[in-house]
């Protein structure tokens, strides 16, 4: 290699530009990929987190659910309409049974899920991220000895998406069974 005291040759500059172009191009491609993947992962992560929290909250309420009283049949222990899910929960803090209502407020840009406990205030569990939500009370009856065995649960199917909307929505489907309520229903 010849070393020059001042200035660059054209060849040098071209080589350097070419090398750096390749290098930068690869780097930019990687970074762009990464960024897209990252934001998708991030939004998935955020939606996953929100759905996990909602399901955990629902699960806690269902674990503390109790029979609502002599006048309700088994079907009335948990009442689900497209907009509302209603159940009775025993609160140890207040030492009594309270009704808990989950509300789904649909909206074009993303609905919300709100929880309300007895006369207390409403708490928004998921805000403006719900693309669709369907919950349904399921009552199964199995023909065992005696009057049969009941199993009650709540099937939840929901899709969450972020505000930008161009990532794939996060969909989850599950069914939550309240263990203690089921035991109460099946105890003679």
């Amino acid at each position: 290699m010849k070393i020059f005291n001042r200035g660059f040759t054209l060849v040098e500059i071209l080589v350097v530009c070419g090398v750096s172009a390749i290098f930068l191009g690869v780097a930019i491609m990687l970074f762009t990929n990464f960024r897209q993947g990252y934001s998708r992962s991030e939004s998935v992560a955020v939606l996953m987190q929100e759905s996990a929290l909602f399901l955990a909250r629902l699960r806690t309420d269902m674990n503390n659910a109790v029979l609502s009283g002599p006048q309700g049949g088994i079907e009335n222990q948990i009442q689900a309409t497209p907009e509302q899910l209603r159940l009775n929960v025993y609160s140890s803090g207040q030492g009594r049974i309270l009704p808990v209502i989950y509300r789904y407020v649909a909206a074009g840009s993303g609905g919300s899920i709100i929880r309300k406990e007895a006369e207390g205030g409403e708490k928004v569990l998921i805000k403006n991220h719900v693309a669709s939500l369907a919950w349904q009370m399921q009552l199964e009856r199995f023909a065992t000895a005696g009057s049969g065995t009941f199993r009650i649960g709540v099937a939840v199917a929901m899709q969450l998406k972020t505000a930008t909307g161009n990532e794939k929505p996060f969909a989850i489907k599950t069914c939550v069974f309240p263990a203690r309520l089921n035991r109460q229903l099946n105890t003679p």
């Binding site: 070393i3 990252y38 992962s41 991030e42 992560a45 987190q49 996990a52 955990a56 699960r59 806690t60 674990n63 503390n64 109790v66 025993y90 609160s91 140890s92 030492g95 263990a179 203690r180």
Partner: protein, 702 residues
């Protein structure tokens, strides 16, 4: 060579620049990577924590479901076990603040060892344990104006299961209400009787009865007799004479006796005493031989008398100064009541005055009057009243003091014995100003029986000594009473019957009940606030009286209450205790409090199986309380709106609280005795605390 050096130098000079750039870029990207990694890492561990929490919840649930039966059985065993196992009860009955306590060690908590082993079978990081706690206790009775009880408290028995998996823990708890309170009715347990309106709205309202001291009368209502302490002849928890005698020596013995509340208005009260063989001790003397004269009197014990009484005195035989014979006399002192003994053969009928002191005309005029209430106690002259009575009391007949004169020589003694009536030497009422040592003490009626010529100075050194024994009955701390017999002795003309003299007025209606340093109550006793207090203790409610019997009668027909129960009784049916068709008396194996919201109460005999059980029955609302049998009743009755109605002659041990006493000829009378064990100022009161645990569990919840 120089070119190489040059390039080296050049290379050396500029290498640092590029590397630095590379390092800077690399560091920035490294930081980005680390943050992303930690974000993802949190995701991952966040997920892990949620999962661990869920497994911990399942384990806690398994823990509580598996051991709840064993734990409940262990608690039940501890609460109802024998004396040695009652540590849980003992813990709850300690006075003062109660901090949250884990009681696993009291219950022999073997279940945790097994649960630990089972959890290990699932996973080495899993754990289950079940703990039993007494939590959130608060003192429930803290107002001394109502009742301040250091032991009464409410709280929870909590069975808590903790499931653990890796680093997460979940707790599930089941709670049961616990109430600790006393089955004795607060301030009223200090009273033998509490009547909201004894005068039935009229201060002169009292009932004429013809009676003797046994209450045997032919017409008019029979007397209601109140004992302010237990007596040897009581069918339940009889008193010990030795104890009563020992108490007599104390000046403030009234603090240990049952009290009376007469509604705060004027009421006529007859104070009387028992017969004399046992001296000052009150004893209801049974006259088995009507022909033997036994005056209704009681004798002052020798060691309470002045010095001159301790030995014989030589005194002239005749009641004149020229007596030639000197006889030795010994002296005693006693009180005799008006109008309660008939020394004629007709003892069963009209009581008459002792010793025919009154003329026939006087007898016809005054007859014997007494109110429905006869307070048997030790209202001894010169000493404090043995019974604290609240209210304005007008007494009809009190007592007069008799100097007992006994000649030592046999012929003189025979003369005294043959005199009919026997000689009575009254100590006259005189005031301090009129007293001097030459005051004559004469036989009433001034008969010459060969008695001594007595001057006051021979027996009493000072006016105080004389006043201590003279015929003015001083019910301290109340006012003086009226001595009708003194008028007779003084041959006073124009005697007025003391119809409206105030004999006793409570200086205050305030009561302080205190034991050691603790003040239970300070203020004016009120039946309404006692009812509020007992309502606050209610643990359980039943709808009808039949429901009550179904639940609380055991197989043998005994009442196993051990609770404070309210009976709603919406149809207002009458409650009979024991129930119709059940044997009398009803045995109470576990005491408690019953609040009857409506209806009347009829008692036919109640007996507690042990001295540490007490039954209190509260009757709310107007109506009546009556006794349908002569069987003794060991019960406290709180019915401040109800009337004590006629029924059969009754016998009660405990506190009687009624609105008023109905008195017509159908009232058969009865006896009420103070149950000393229930006195809050005595340590025996602590036996009546009970621990009530709600049989219903709350739901389990996290």
């Amino acid at each position: 060579m120089s070119v190489k050096n040059q390039s080296e130098k050049i290379a050396a000079g500029s290498r640092g620049f590029a590397i630095m750039i590379a390092l800077v870029i690399g560091t920035v990207l490294l930081v980005l990577a680390v943050s992303l990694y930690s974000f993802v890492g949190h995701q991952h561990s966040g997920m892990q924590t949620i999962v661990n929490g869920e497994v911990a919840h399942f384990l806690a649930e398994a823990g509580i479901n598996s051991s709840i039966g064993t734990v409940r059985a262990s608690i039940a065993r501890n609460l109802s076990g024998g004396a040695t196992e009652k540590e849980l009860t003992g813990l709850l009955l300690k006075p003062g603040e109660f901090t949250d306590t884990c009681i696993n060690n009291l219950l022999d908590a073997s279940w945790n060892r097994d649960l630990e082993a089972f959890a290990r079978e699932v996973d080495k990081d899993a754990s289950i344990r079940v703990d039993v706690w007494l939590r959130d206790f608060e003192s429930s009775e803290t107002d001394p104006a109502v009742w301040d009880d250091p032991v009464a408290r409410n709280g929870f028995l909590v069975i808590e299961s903790t499931g653990g998996y890796k680093s997460s823990q979940r707790k599930i708890a089941i709670r049961r209400r616990v109430k600790v309170c006393s089955t004795a009715p607060g301030v009223l347990s200090k009273f033998t009787m509490y009547v909201s309106d004894a005068a039935r709205r009229s201060p002169d309202g009292f009932n004429l009865i013809r009676n003797d001291y046994r209450g045997m009368i032919t017409d008019g209502p029979r007397p209601l007799i109140l004992y302010n302490h237990p007596t040897p002849d009581s069918p339940i928890e009889p008193g010990n004479i030795a104890d009563v005698a020992r108490d007599e020596k104390q000046a403030d013995v009234w603090k240990h006796r049952g009290w009376l509340w007469l509604g705060g208005r004027g009421i006529r009260l007859n104070l009387c005493s028992g017969a004399g063989d046992l001296g000052e001790i009150f004893h209801f003397y049974d006259v088995s031989n009507p022909n033997v004269f036994s005056p209704v009197k009681f004798t002052t014990p020798a060691d309470s008398l002045p010095v001159a009484f301790s030995g014989p005195l030589q005194l002239p035989w005749d009641k004149s100064n020229e007596s030639i014979r000197q006889v030795s006399y010994t002296f005693g002192h006693s009180f005799i009541l008006d109008g309660f003994h008939d020394r004629s053969s007709r003892k069963e009928s009209e009581a008459m005055y002792e010793g025919n002191i009154l003329s026939t005309g006087e007898k016809n005029h005054y007859s014997s009057k007494s109110s429905i209430l006869h307070l048997f106690g030790d209202a001894r002259r010169g000493y404090q009243s043995r019974t604290r009575v609240f209210g304005v009391v007008s007494a009809a007949f009190i007592r007069f003091a008799n100097l007992e004169v006994k000649p030592e020589e046999s012929d003189a003694a025979a003369l005294f014995a043959a005199a009919n009536p026997p000689p009575l030497y009254l100590l006259r009422s005189v005031s301090g100003d009129d007293y001097d040592t030459s005051v004559d003490i004469e036989e009433v009626g001034r008969r010459s029986v060969g008695g001594p010529l007595l001057k006051a100075g021979m027996l009493f050194k000072s006016y105080d000594e004389y006043a201590q024994l003279m015929s003015r009955v001083v019910e301290m701390p109340y006012s003086e009473t009226y001595n009708s017999m003194q008028d007779v002795c003084d041959a006073k003309t124009g005697r007025t019957f003391p119809s409206s003299t105030v004999a006793m007025k409570a200086d205050s209606d305030e009561v302080t009940l205190q034991r050691d340093q603790h003040i239970f109550f300070k203020g004016r006793p009120s039946a309404d606030s006692v009812i509020q207090l007992l309502e606050g203790r209610v643990q359980f409610e039943v709808e009808t009286i039949n429901d009550f019997w179904d639940r609380y009668l055991n197989q043998q027909g005994e009442l196993e209450l051990n609770a404070v129960v309210r009976i709603k009784n919406p149809r207002g049916l009458d409650m009979q205790m024991p129930a119709v068709g059940r044997p009398q008396p009803m045995m109470v194996r576990g005491g408690g409090i019953i609040i009857l919201e409506a209806g009347n109460l009829v008692l036919r005999g109640i007996s507690c199986s042990a001295a540490d059980q007490a039954l209190t029955v509260v009757v709310r609302g107007g109506g009546s309380v009556s006794f349908a049998s002569t069987q003794p009743n060991q019960v406290n009755l709180i019915a401040p709106e109800a009337e004590l109605a006629y029924g059969s002659k009754f016998d009660m041990l405990g506190t009687l609280c009624v609105g008023s006493l109905y008195a017509d000829h159908r009232f058969q009378g009865g006896v009420v005795r103070f149950r000393t064990g229930q006195d809050p100022i005595l340590p025996g009161y602590d036996r009546f605390y009970k621990v009530f645990v709600d049989p219903k569990d709350s739901y389990w919840n996290e």
